[in-house]
């Protein structure tokens, strides 16, 4: 079947039991602290690099999903959630406690590049300091911010000051000689090509980019704080819609639903799973359409027509989603244990509308290929620009179309199945080009795969016996998962691995709620793709990453 993985036989792929891992790490393990999804090893804060490199080199854990940090009554703690790109169901958590009065812990950046931003975020929001980190600054909040907002004694009413600085050219002194002089260029935070409020600090030497540094945090809406203040049952679900707001709402809701359902051991009825799968793939189509639309616009202003075409197709999907969920953008349709209501009546009408949409889709895709991908100018701008080799992509924890465009065969829908995906027939799309063009192709081909999935779901739903249409499991009114249960669960969002770490503290609200945003990790690869290229290639590379700032900043 198409869903099977290619065989991998090297040492790293061997699945080890938790005890074998513990033996491998030997004295490094201080004690065990297992999470619901993975074995957890507590280590000393000065052995982070050693532990992670053993796990990476010898046990094959080559994917650092996320670093989640938190503060307890008596200590600080950073957790490194590791996985394998080849088999993401093999997970391990490395737990690093740090001293309450002097929270210092060794940085993992030399082992995993992606730790750079994740640790900066932990420093910014929680206040843990990372030794040996190349550039430990605030990342989401203004540099002049006082206090660490997710730490325990933060007072959110205190006044704050934000600055509007003139940016100095960080390389100027260094580059200055009689021949060359560098120029500093601000792109954003208010700029049509940055897809929202992203700020790129770029240093140019002539037309060439010497250094580009994404400056984020212009849309840091405290999503984690919001989730920690809401009750599991109903109050958290509306927020995921607003992380990746490009109509990818259901995909995000699924991330929360999956984590919370596994935490509270809720079984979702099959019928609801099929509806979820269908809805989620509709969202994926809508999201990829916008990615295509804006990318074409970024690359060449003449593609306004493409933009209109793609928006037109989005309107069609949004109509379907509106019929299903009642909203165009912020669906709030999933509930823990299922979905909020059944398909709209009359069902036949909804099915035929969906079928109509699917029937015309191949024609639209054809049209996009004529308009965009076979266009010479477009090809010149995108082929062999913004190159991201697969090992670099992995090192930065890139996932989703960005990784798959670099030939990394990683899709959680297949590799860590949830919902109804493993019962359906579809393919994971990868491209080997590693460039801007490949990433776009991946998205366009994924649209076709999503259409396949939707079609199969519609077939299933049509024949579903009427008395077995169970849309929600029985879920208690208030959920109180066991004290100190911890879980990290991820789904394949529109942009990649969207994961959530929850620690319960025995109440009906999460003790810590951490979002692993795919865009956050993907955006981190931008300097790798852009340095040394021309300015227009930076814009193309950024467009092909398809970031959404709501999710980068959260």
């Amino acid at each position: 079947m198409s869903l099977e993985r290619p065989d991998t036989t090297d040492d790293a792929a061997i699945e080890r039991t938790p005890d074998e891992l513990e033996a491998l790490l030997g004295d490094l393990v201080v004690k065990r602290d297992d999470h619901l999804n993975a074995p957890g090893f507590v280590i000393r804060p000065d052995t982070v690099q050693e532990t992670l490199s053993i796990l990476k080199e010898q046990a094959g854990y080559d994917h650092l999903s996320v670093v989640s940090a938190q503060e307890y009554e008596n200590r600080y703690e950073s957790i490194y959630h590791l996985k394998k790109f080849d088999d993401p169901t093999q997970e391990v958590s490395v737990v690093v406690p740090a001293d309450k009065d002097d929270p210092v812990s060794e940085s993992a950046e030399p082992v995993f590049r992606t730790a750079d931003w994740h640790e900066r975020e932990a420093y910014d929001l929680i206040g843990i300091e990372y030794d040996d980190h190349p550039d430990l600054r605030r990342i989401l909040l203004p540099e002049t911010w006082q206090g660490h907002p997710l730490s325990m004694d933060y007072d959110k009413d205190r006044p704050q000051i934000a600055t509007l600085p003139e940016h100095a050219n960080p390389l100027q002194e260094h580059y200055k000689d009689s021949e060359s002089d560098t120029m500093f260029l601000n792109i954003g935070p208010h700029h049509p090509a940055t897809h929202g409020v992203l700020h790129l600090k770029t240093v140019l030497d002539g037309e060439q980019v010497v250094d580009v540094e994404p400056d984020i945090g212009y849309l840091h809406r405290c999503e984690e704080q919001m989730a920690q203040a809401g009750t599991y049952r109903h109050q958290i679900m509306p927020y995921p819609d607003r992380w990746d707001y490009i109509s990818a709402g259901l995909l995000n809701e699924w991330a929360y639903a999956r984590a919370a359902e596994d935490l509270a051991e809720i079984e979702v009825p099959e019928y609801a799973q099929v509806i979820r799968t269908m809805g989620a793939e509709m969202c994926r189509i809508a999201a990829h359409m916008l990615a295509l639309a804006t990318f074409a616009l970024d690359v060449n202003g003449d593609f306004t027509a493409t933009f209109m075409y793609a928006i037109n197709d989005r309107e069609r999907v949004q109509d379907l989603l509106e019929d299903l969920t009642g909203q165009r953008l912020m669906f709030n349709y999933f509930r823990l244990g299922g979905v909020v209501w059944d398909l709209p009546e009359p069902r036949e009408e909804f099915f035929s509308k969906t079928r109509d949409f699917l029937d015309q889709l191949p024609e639209s895709v054809e049209e996009y290929h004529n308009l965009v991908t076979s266009n010479e100018i477009f090809q010149m701008r995108t082929i062999d620009t913004g190159v991201l080799p697969p090992d670099v992509a992995k090192d930065y924890g890139a996932t989703g179309p960005v990784a798959r465009g670099s030939g990394v065969d990683y899709d959680l829908r297949r590799d860590d199945p949830y919902g109804y995906y493993d019962e359906l027939d579809w393919d994971v799309v990868t491209e080997e080009g590693c460039d801007n063009f490949s990433r776009l192709l991946v998205r366009m081909r994924e649209v076709e795969e999503s259409a396949k999935i939707i079609e199969q779901c519609v077939d299933l739903l049509e024949d579903w016996p009427e008395d077995e249409r169970n849309i929600q499991a029985n879920v208690p009114r208030t959920l109180r998962p066991d004290d100190d249960a911890e879980i990290y669960r991820a789904v394949e969002g529109a942009k990649g691995e969207l994961g959530i770490y929850i620690r319960s503290d025995g109440t009906d609200k999460p003790g810590r709620f951490k979002i692993r945003s795919p865009c956050f990790s993907n955006l981190q690869t931008l300097p790798e793709m852009a340095n040394g290229e021309y300015i227009p290639d930076v814009i193309a590379a950024l467009g092909s990453l398809d970031i959404v700032l709501g999710e980068v900043d959260r």
Partner: protein, 232 residues
């Protein structure tokens, strides 16, 4: 048609009326129905201000300005199906210097507010602002957030609020058309909140926080100070 034959216009296929009239110098291309309705008089009487306001309201240039989720619906408003351009206000300008109206589509956070103020300041007078979504009214779903400004009106004055999370494109169209109506009628909106200002650091009242930051921020650097405790 073989290629060696020169291309000849088929005269019978061309509507030649206006062309002939112009060749003989008799046609009046500027004649319009409206002109006929006014009869022979080439003058109409109106107040200059009224006329200017009418012009202003009939053709508004929007600032291309996306912040958060609401900007997705704003894009849909500009694009096919909803097509804001039908009402004479759908041309997004990328530069604030060419724009009349700013739609604020989303949540404003501490780091972005000074930039938004700057963009607003760069727009030429007269300028108008449409606040889109609950976030620009009060901070919306994120009102409790430690980093969120409780409404766009704390930073810039807003003329029209369009509620919703997000408002449907139809709602935004309604909001913009309402604004055009008000502009055409010469109505202005009062500012209801004392906004946060961009000011030089040395102009801030000295207190604990300012003292603490004194060695980090230059005297003449522009800053915005948020008093979250007094926020609505």
């Amino acid at each position: 048609m073989s290629s060696d034959q020169p291309f000849i216009t088929d005269e019978s296929q061309v509507v030649t009326e206006t062309r002939d009239a112009r060749m003989t110098g008799q046609g009046d291309r500027f004649n319009s129905r409206l002109r006929e309705a006014f009869g022979s008089s080439p003058f109409i009487l109106t107040k200059f201000d009224k006329f200017l306001n009418w012009c202003r309201g009939s053709s508004m240039f929007m600032l291309q300005f996306g912040i958060a989720c609401c900007s997705i619906e704003m894009m849909h408003t500009y694009a096919v199906k909803h097509d804001l351009d039908r009402f004479g206000s759908g041309v997004p300008r990328a530069s604030p210097r060419q724009a009349d109206v700013m739609i604020v589509p989303g949540t404003i956070v501490s780091k972005f507010a000074p930039r938004m103020k700057r963009v607003y300041d760069q727009m030429p007078e007269p300028k108008f602002v449409v606040g889109m979504g609950s976030c620009t009214i009060s901070g919306g779903p994120f009102q409790e957030g430690y980093n969120v400004i409780k409404g766009a009106e704390e930073v810039i004055p807003i003329d029209i609020h369009v509620p919703g999370c997000p408002p449907r494109p139809e709602a935004l169209v309604y909001g913009v058309v309402k604004l055009q109506e008000r502009v055409a009628n010469g109505e202005a909106s009062p500012v209801t909140v004392k906004p946060y200002e961009l000011e030089e650091f040395s102009d801030l009242e000295r207190d604990e926080l300012v003292d603490k930051l004194a060695d980090q921020i230059d005297e003449d650097e522009l800053v915005m100070r948020y008093n979250f405790a007094d926020s609505p």
